[in-house]
Symmetry: C2
Subunit: 444 residues, 2 copies
């Protein structure tokens, strides 16, 4: 086994970093990466970005990996590659297991300590099964590449098994999909699955008619896309229903067992025979929030998000910042800022700029999220966009969605491939990346 | 669990296939797929292609998935998609576990029987550790997508761990790679790894110099690329050495333990500290050859290949054919035909044409492999090509290699993506698909 000492005390080949301000960033998602990039040309700092994985994941398109439209590599960018031009930045692949705010050190799994002058925590959230952790095995969520490949394995595996099934009830259960949660991810999954079942796969099977597929989208709140204005929720539901999705609002999943899913709508219980359940509801702190709370006594909300100050720092710890999904920022509007990519990007950039100012003994006004609009895609030619100055639906919204995603994908990594893959999928209605791979053994 | 009956006795939605000649093809590699496509427009037959996986894999490029240059989806084509236009063809995802030549039935894992009038076995070979099966865990081979992702995980993981290592001996062991076997796959791996270490990754690390990487290519025979003419082997070795690969011929691996690999060259033993060993030597029958031998008493060679007759059928069983890597065809030249894609394609097409002739009460002359040339790529701008009428090396050979692979990739699936990915990799020298994913749990 590797014998690893404290990296900071024995920097084998690095020049001594002591005169520089050491910024350690945990997590290479949108928040962490945008912070690192903002600091890229600041000579007074030395940046260390630590992530469990060696790549940044463009999570907004992860559902397309689950549906076989894109390959994981299409939406993943190697962190080293993205940051290789930043001479003041190093990348470490490692998992942070503890933190000592007194000595200003984060502790990696193998035991190394990494010292910081300023710490930016951007480790994100994982999904939450509302206390039914046993459902994790039955109903995969969609946070990692492995999650997406597991969803893909189950979706395409269900059609394959249905093709071989001779019992009509079993066949229909295999062709029935329940998606839990009608936020943006659930709506995207439902729409993409409808496109897959009712169009893409139709010519490919001989014994089953994939047109017989049932897609149930289940939401506990009173409408789909709860963070959006109600009129967009209405339109989104109409579009989904037109595509063949059955929408159940004010409905909870109370049991999943065998191929039976129990739904509760008010007092009404109903059982659906469905072989595949996809999870798109609930988030929780995967651990880093708990470590921060233990070490700094910071307050957290019910989901485990860290309640940060107006400058995104932890109260009493001006050198520790939390950005992105793990941050609960309650200093703007009635509700905390949502866990979406634009918020994470702006928070990451803000903290980086604040550190730049501090190095010049200046400061910045409190963080303000500039809402450029939020958007959710429903299917081919259908999306909803909520701009601060207006709303879009249908084809124009879909076009805006496409443009925004291509723009951000290309910004830091030249993902022209994705556009070509999309153009090809769009024209041929095929999904070229629908290979079913073996089950992945996760270490978490 | 699915309750599955015999598919043939209860064809739920298919019209009764009895008047048609039922051709069952096992395996959707080059042999099986080309047989299926050749039969696509023959109305008198009903084709059933059975594969464990739902995709055809363009195996000649699998090493690029291992090296992070391509995504699995780039070289995989969904079998259903490729064959969806063939109205006489159905695809079943399933694993064949037995065969009854008397009732003319193949048995799938779940217990179904699938009846055939003619059977084409094209299930291929897996790798062989020369009796050291415990090395499978230490030294991954390269036959499946999962193998390639495991290689990728180990290669990039070694660089990541080296970046964190403070012990210089450990660091060098992490930067040392042993590739066992210098056939086309081993040579491709060695060349691509040299490109990766000495060019692509060089700007991405801060503590290690990836230029310190050692790549040892170990071959038991007296030269690299043993199936090629000796002068091409000489040139290939020169090119590899120019790229920084250390070539050891007439050398055997006698032990792999911890980070120590023991090499034996003649009577000379030497131990190398290397954390990563990649396996590119030896093939064996993964099981189907054994089933055929049990059921038909057919002879097999030392590797377990089925010794077929001049028309690729099994002696005494004119309705069972073996094509591709699993077939030992000894009726042409001094040695059996090699296990390469062009042989499999031609064998698959031959058997399909023979069946078409038989339906018209005619026959075909014995199978003859038309050698269009063989080729192996070494690295950027370097390959060897052995045409029947001449040899090529260096850049012209590399260009031919590129052209041939693009041509065949595009032939049955419009893999323009690969070309664009290649062009992008070629220009930028980046490898965009080098994400390390979690270890895969294989069921084999």
């Amino acid at each position: 086994m590797p014998t690893l000492q404290s990296i900071e005390t024995a920097p084998s080949s690095l020049p001594s970093p002591s005169p520089k301000h050491r910024v350690v960033i945990l997590g290479g998602g949108f928040g962490g990466l945008y912070a690192a990039q903002q600091l890229g040309r600041t000579e007074e700092v030395q940046v260390t970005l630590i992530d469990k994985r060696n790549f940044h994941l463009f999570q907004p398109l992860l559902y397309q990996v689950a549906m076989g439209g894109l390959s994981p590599g299409d939406i993943a960018s190697p962190l080293r590659g993205v940051l290789s031009q930043q001479k003041n930045t190093q990348v470490l692949m490692g998992e942070v297991v503890d933190l000592d705010p007194q000595t200003k050190t984060v502790i990696l799994k193998e035991g190394e300590g990494v010292a910081y002058d300023s710490l930016i925590v951007a480790t994100g959230m994982s999904h939450f099964y509302f206390g039914r952790d046993d459902w994790a095995e039955i109903a995969p969520g969609l946070k990692t590449v492995e999650d997406a490949l597991e969803m893909r394995r189950r979706i395409f595996g269900a059609f394959e098994t249905a093709e071989k099934a001779t019992d009509p009830d079993l066949r229909q259960a295999l062709l029935t999909f329940v998606i839990v949660g009608a936020g943006p991810t659930g709506v995207e999954l439902a729409g993409a699955l409808a496109e897959l079942a009712f169009h893409t796969l139709k010519p490919d099977f001989r014994r089953i008619d994939t047109g017989q597929t049932r897609i149930l989208l289940v939401e506990g709140m009173d409408r789909v896309l709860p963070p959006f204005p109600p009129e967009l929720s209405v339109r989104a539901q109409q579009d989904l229903e037109k595509m063949g999705v059955e929408v159940f609002t004010q409905t909870l999943v109370t049991d999943i067992a065998g191929h039976q899913v129990t739904l509760k709508q008010g007092d009404h219980l109903r059982t659906v025979s469905a072989a595949t359940v996809l999870w798109a509801a609930g988030v929780r702190d995967p651990g880093m929030g708990g470590i921060l709370a233990d070490r700094t006594r910071v307050d957290r909300d019910r989901s485990g998000r860290v309640i940060v100050g107006p400058d995104l720092s932890i109260p009493g710890y001006p050198d520790i910042f939390v950005v992105g999904d793990l941050a609960h920022y309650g200093h703007q509007g009635d509700r905390p800022l949502p866990g979406i990519a634009p918020v994470a990007m702006q928070e990451g950039q803000y903290v980086a700029r604040l550190l730049q100012k501090r190095l010049q003994s200046e400061t910045l006004p409190d963080f303000r999220y500039k809402d450029g609009g939020s958007l959710a895609v429903i299917g081919r030619h259908s999306a909803v966009v909520n701009f601060p100055k207006g709303k879009l639906t249908g084809f124009p919204a879909w076009f805006v969605w496409l443009f925004v995603h291509v723009f951000f994908l290309i910004e830091f990594d030249n993902k022209v491939i994705v556009m070509i893959q999309w153009a090809s999928n769009y024209i041929t209605r095929k999904q070229g990346s629908r290979l079913i791979t073996e089950r992945i053994l996760t270490h978490d």
